[in-house]
Symmetry: C2
Subunit: 385 residues, 2 copies
């Protein structure tokens, strides 16, 4: 079933009577979002290369003094193309070609900013705990082949590209990082943002490969809006999301790689909660498919060794600061989700809900300063009985 | 429709075919929770007094060294009983009687800890901006009539009671607070927890009546587990939820009062995200019904004056640290939700997911210390173009 069930949204549309469906969707997904027209040329590419395209608009109220700040954001989810046993160069080249096609479709849809999935140039091999050949996928974020490709695509399509890769940091002793490279629409490398929180869960102790990021909560002010990147496991940490908001992000991408058995019931909750709490847009991106590795490995769950660790369930979506969200992409197919958003909505929701104003950051700065002391005594009132 | 549609869960059960329903429920609500048997005596009370009872269990894995830490938690949602024009004493007495009945049903279900809704002794009159007669509902948390009633109930039923009221703080200049009083199962007033974040949204600028709480993030260690209370608007603030977790809470109650047009799509997200992020149980409680006030008021939304501000949609639920949650109570009827939880699940989820271990509180203590400075310069990388 996990590998066949396309999406909750599709199932609801099919089964729930119209009047009730409206109420179900309002409660589950917030205000209804209009679809946007996908150009025929993009549809054609999608059919030809077998991926889905969905498009939605998240409008804001009209203001007198500030014109709408419309931006089209694309997120891509995809399966790996070649077997994990193929030569590294071939695996990467195939993914380069795949993502180039899908980015072209995004360009035809007028996308201004696009984000690919976590470690998009490779299978998510960190479950294997083997270092080779997987470390060979690591690249220089400033001028590696993937950054070069993204620079070309950025210039060609006048598109900001967020490219999450396995980074090789040659300056600092050849260490590895899990990093998103941000390339401006002029092809200039704006900078990078490293994964702040590293999982030690089930198949993944990713600190086998790289440690907690040291780039803090950098925000990138692009021509189309202020963006930030919270990579994968960082989505479980509300304080991480919060700091990107404190620093002024309007759109936060969450490129991820996560499987059904592990996290699926949390998927619709976390990035959406972040959008609400921080009055910004979030884009949750997860890869698709099942990746089988050459050597068997165990999952620290008492079960026998195996060669894959489950189904990546896609379901990428965009959440808005007002509590609404787009439907998710499919659980089983590659896809491009195009969302036209008016960034004025961020400030409008701040004005309406006041979460920023009522955040009491001073309280938490001092509470946390106390809490991190080794001899911290939490304020616990104990029943005398 | 808002006043008739009972719940998303009920609608799905009715309309979605069995095999797909299983998958829909897994993705939307996490692992399936067994129901618990509601004793006939409690069912009878419920029928007689026209409220619903639902019961679920959230088990944990068996451990070798630690026996299960089973606790039954009750949450109550209800409409006001009398018209808002009735004498204050009558309104309060009717609510006292109503909640006493429902608490008796909870006792019959073996509930150990119960929490009532926000400001449960009164209509949620803060939308009116009128001070009188509503301020008359305020009470001394140590020995006011409501605390006295709760002490009786606590002793009678051997039950910890969380009683959220409008507090009159006589010691500090007769100020008002929005406060939860915690009464131990022996009838002893353990202490109080004040609402940390105060809304200024739509109908509600509650700072008309009371200010941000000064009791921090106190945790109450009862005989049945460590509890805390995050009142209403505080659920929109992940940092608030976080501090209760840092201080050791295992169950955090969120007594609320919120209407459909305002917050309903966020309701299933926020308390559940908090349970996941902080590896504890959360109990989201919202009142039911439409409350009409004697004098008209406006809602700062350009619409004409009116006497009610919308439908409180109930939908109270319990969320677990592993991403699962109970179905919600009805959107339209009074109800008691009984959840049997094994508190060992909190530590087990911490061990499995490691969110506490990977929280990097030191990073956020220093980031926030910097961010609250008036001359803070966020780390923003600007496109040179």
């Amino acid at each position: 079933m996990a590998g066949q069930f396309a999406s909750v949204e599709e199932c609801l549309e099919k089964n729930v009577p119209e009047q009730e469906l409206k109420e179900v969707k309002r409660i589950l997904y917030g205000k209804e979002l209009p679809t946007i027209t996908i150009p025929e040329s993009a549809e054609k590419l999608a059919v030809q290369h077998s991926f889905d395209i969905q498009g939605y608009a998240i409008p804001a109220a009209k203001e007198e003094l500030t014109p709408p700040r419309i931006v089209r954001v694309g997120v891509i989810q995809n399966a790996i193309v070649k077997e994990t046993t193929a030569p590294i160069a071939e695996q990467r080249a195939a993914l380069h070609a795949r993502i180039s096609q899908m980015t072209e479709a995004a360009a035809l849809c007028g996308v201004n900013i696009i984000c690919f999935q976590e470690a998009w140039t490779m299978p998510f091999a960190f479950c294997t705990r083997e270092k080779q050949p997987w470390c060979e996928f690591a690249e220089n974020p400033d001028n590696g082949p993937t950054t070069q490709l993204c620079q070309e695509l950025a210039r060609k399509f006048n598109m900001v590209i967020v490219s999450p890769i396995l980074e090789r940091d040659e300056i600092h002793g050849d260490t590895l990082w899990n990093t998103a490279v941000v390339i401006s629409n002029t092809g200039y490398v704006l900078g990078k943002s490293r994964k702040n929180h590293i999982p030690r869960v089930g198949d993944f102790n990713e600190s086998t490969y790289y440690m907690e990021g040291d780039t803090g909560h950098t925000v990138f002010q692009t021509q189309f809006g202020r963006i930030a990147i919270n990579i994968c496991y960082g989505r479980h940490h509300p304080q991480n999301w919060m700091m990107y908001g404190v620093n002024g992000a309007e759109i936060v991408f969450n490129p991820s790689a996560t499987v059904g058995g592990l996290s699926e019931p949390m998927w619709g909750i976390e990035a959406r909660n972040a959008a609400i709490a921080n009055s910004y847009f979030t884009c949750a991106i997860n890869r698709v498919g099942t990746e089988s590795f050459p050597n068997e490995f165990t999952s620290a769950d008492g079960k026998p060794a195996h060669k894959d660790f489950g189904h990546f369930y896609g379901s990428s979506y965009v959440a808005a600061p007002d509590g609404s969200r787009t439907p998710g992409l499919s659980r089983i197919r590659d896809g491009l989700l195009v969302t036209e958003m008016d960034l004025n909505l961020c400030r409008q929701v701040k004005d309406r809900w006041g979460f920023r104003m009522t955040q009491r950051l001073d309280l938490y700065a001092s509470s946390l300063a106390a809490a991190i002391q080794p001899d911290y005594q939490p304020p616990v009132i104990k029943d005398v009985c």
